[in-house]
């Protein structure tokens, strides 16, 4: 971060001078030109606002969260915490609430991500046909993405409601019992996963569609000459070509799933942070909020936040390794 903290002065110094023009030494330098020092410093001036804001509102908080996680601190006594070393982490790993939330985050994450990405892939395939009204279909499928978490969750809480919910009305019409979606572990998690799936499937479908459109046609022609039918072509041309994109969406969805918060918070409809009466849909994000803003244990909350980051790093790392291994296997 030293660079960012030096930049304002340099920016000022640069601005007071008649600024020499910036050269374009882009990706393919036309002729080798000597890069002057001034030109170098202008680059810093341009990125300075980003890094200053980033340092103040992101990097510093990240690191400070780590520091807090080593203290016993409450929200009412923010600056006067006592040093407890790794106690918070030990407590966290021994806490049944943490493991419950971690388990729920995992199951809801799988329930939300796997069907979502599979459906998105299928949808992208359909959208890749020469269809009429393509703009209409694409736009409509993106509507859920434009809907906020809060709005989507309130609507789905209505739809999944025990007494007045439309889904139960339909179930009853087919002679089935009304389900108390919110009370059950699996049913509540399925319902929450449904909200996530609804909001993100169309978005991911568009990402896949964009990637599909850049697959060279010759690959399909070659496959056709080899006698591959449409399904084989999808399996052996489309999917392998999309692999980097798929890996990318898996990573992004997983990062989102680890942070799941708004849906479980608002699903119960009474503003509690426990994630259901027995914590049946308590997630890590919600647990962290509960520790910090319901129970005022800021130190514990910071520890949970760092645990979440570690999980994300693990997932991203595993994905990177898988990607690399597969690339090597291809060669």
């Amino acid at each position: 971060m030293t660079i960012a903290s030096q930049t304002p002065r340099q920016a000022l110094r640069g601005a007071t001078r008649a600024a020499p023009p910036t050269a374009s030494t882009g990706d393919r330098p036309p002729a080798r030109r000597r890069t002057s020092l001034t030109r170098n410093r202008w680059g810093y001036a341009y990125v300075a606002p980003f890094f200053l804001l980033f340092a103040a509102f992101s990097l510093y908080p990240f690191l400070y969260t780590a520091w807090i996680s080593l203290h016993k601190t409450s929200l009412s006594n923010i600056d006067g915490g006592t040093w407890v070393g790794l106690d918070n982490y030990r407590n966290l790993l021994q806490s049944e609430f943490f493991w419950n939330a971690a388990r729920n985050t995992l199951t809801i994450g799988v329930l939300a991500t796997v069907p979502q990405l599979c459906m998105a892939l299928g949808l992208a395939h359909l959208l890749n046909y020469k269809i009429r009204n393509r703009t209409f279909f694409r736009t409509v499928m993106l509507m859920p993405y434009a809907t906020s978490i809060a709005a989507a969750t309130l609507v789905f809480a209505q739809l999944f409601g025990r007494d007045y919910g439309l889904i139960n009305t339909v179930l009853q019409a087919f002679g089935m019992d009304r389900i108390d979606w919110e009370a059950g572990t699996l049913s509540s998690q399925v319902a929450i996963a449904a909200i996530v799936t609804w909001r993100w499937t169309g978005y991911n479908a568009l990402i896949y569609l964009a990637a599909m459109q850049s697959i060279p046609g010759e690959l399909y022609e070659a496959a056709e000459i080899d006698g591959a039918n449409k399904w084989k072509q999808f399996l052996h041309v489309t999917i392998p070509s999309l692999r980097p994109t798929i890996l990318f969406t898996v990573v992004v969805s997983t990062i989102g799933a680890v942070q799941l918060f708004g849906e479980p918070l608002l699903f119960a409809g009474n503003g509690t942070t426990s994630g259901g009466s027995s914590g049946q849909y308590q997630t890590l994000g919600l647990l962290m909020y509960q520790q910090g803003w319901s129970n005022f244990h800021i130190g514990q909350a910071a520890t949970t936040a760092w645990a979440m980051f570690m999980i994300i790093l693990l997932v991203v790392g595993v994905n990177a390794v898988i990607g690399r291994l597969r690339n090597r296997a291809d060669r």
């Binding site: 008649a18 023009p21 050269a23 030494t25 990706d27 170098n40 202008w42 680059g43 810093y44 990125v47 980003f50 890094f51 804001l53 992101s58 908080p61 807090i68 923010i78 395939h125 359909l126 890749n128 046909y129 020469k130 269809i131 703009t135 279909f137 736009t139 993106l142 509507m143 434009a146 809907t147 809060a150 709005a151 989507a152 789905f156 809480a157 209505q158 739809l159 007045y164 439309l166 009305t169 169309g202 568009l206 990402i207 569609l209 459109q213 449409k230 980097p244 994109t245 890996l247 990318f248 942070q259 708004g262 608002l266 994000g285 803003w293 909350a301 936040a305 991203v316 994905n319 990177a320």
Partner: protein
Amino acid sequence: MTTALPGTQTTSVQPVDRPVTRKSGKGNRVGKPGPVTYTLLTLTALVSIFPLYWTLVAGSHTNAEIAATPPPFLPNATLFDNFKLALEQAPIGKAILNSVLVAGSITVGTVFFCTLAGFAFAKLQFKGRGLLLGLVIGTMMVPTQLAVIPLFMMIADLQWVNQLQAVIFPTLVSAFGVFFMRQYLISSLPNELLEAGKVDGASTFRIFWSIVVPVARPAMAVLAMLTFLTAWNEFFWPLIALTNANPTVQVALAGLGSGYVPQQSVIMAGTLLGTLPVLIVFTILGKQIVGGIMQGAVKG
């Protein structure tokens, strides 16, 4: 950190004015769609729209009416009474105004700062450029939860709790935006144009303002739409930094959803009110937003 996000290294953004794949037939090579395709797409479209339509229906019926068999499938004028009730239950009017202010400021800031930084990363040489860019990309993985506690302390010290600047400043830049602008400018800002500006003796900021910005405008528009949408829908941090006394739409909706409201229809009417502004914007700019997301998409 660059290696951590496997897809991003090869990401590229298509310039808006040169859509390589669209309508050229190259992308849509899978052939003619059958009735099954249309059926499936129509079903998906229905599922996408239905929950939004249902807010309209549920917003105009009492609990008992909604639970009836068969359930109602049309909205009626009661909706407007419920709008009124919802506005009494939650400060949604003020929330919409606040959200416009917050999302608007964030959009202006993000587009400006990210275009600046994106330009530098795309076209200027400076020491540590690769490292800094890696840092930008790395920040995309850090969960919001990791920052909220110190941020909360910070705004408490600054007496910003319940003030709109508390939710504007921390979101004023985005790593995605920097990366998005960089990818666009690499491919669509010719070096010759910058050289010409240099020969004419224009200052660096002049070059930025009168050469880079006009070229970047299509991508800036896309970034603006995506940023506005994201900022409007931001949930976690506003919920911590603001209260119902001075809420954004999402905070007001959370309050409405977790308060004691006997009629579901009032919650639904309020939800509709809070969602309507985005839906209107989306109806007008939907095509451009779709195009923007597809341009920003990662390509193998």
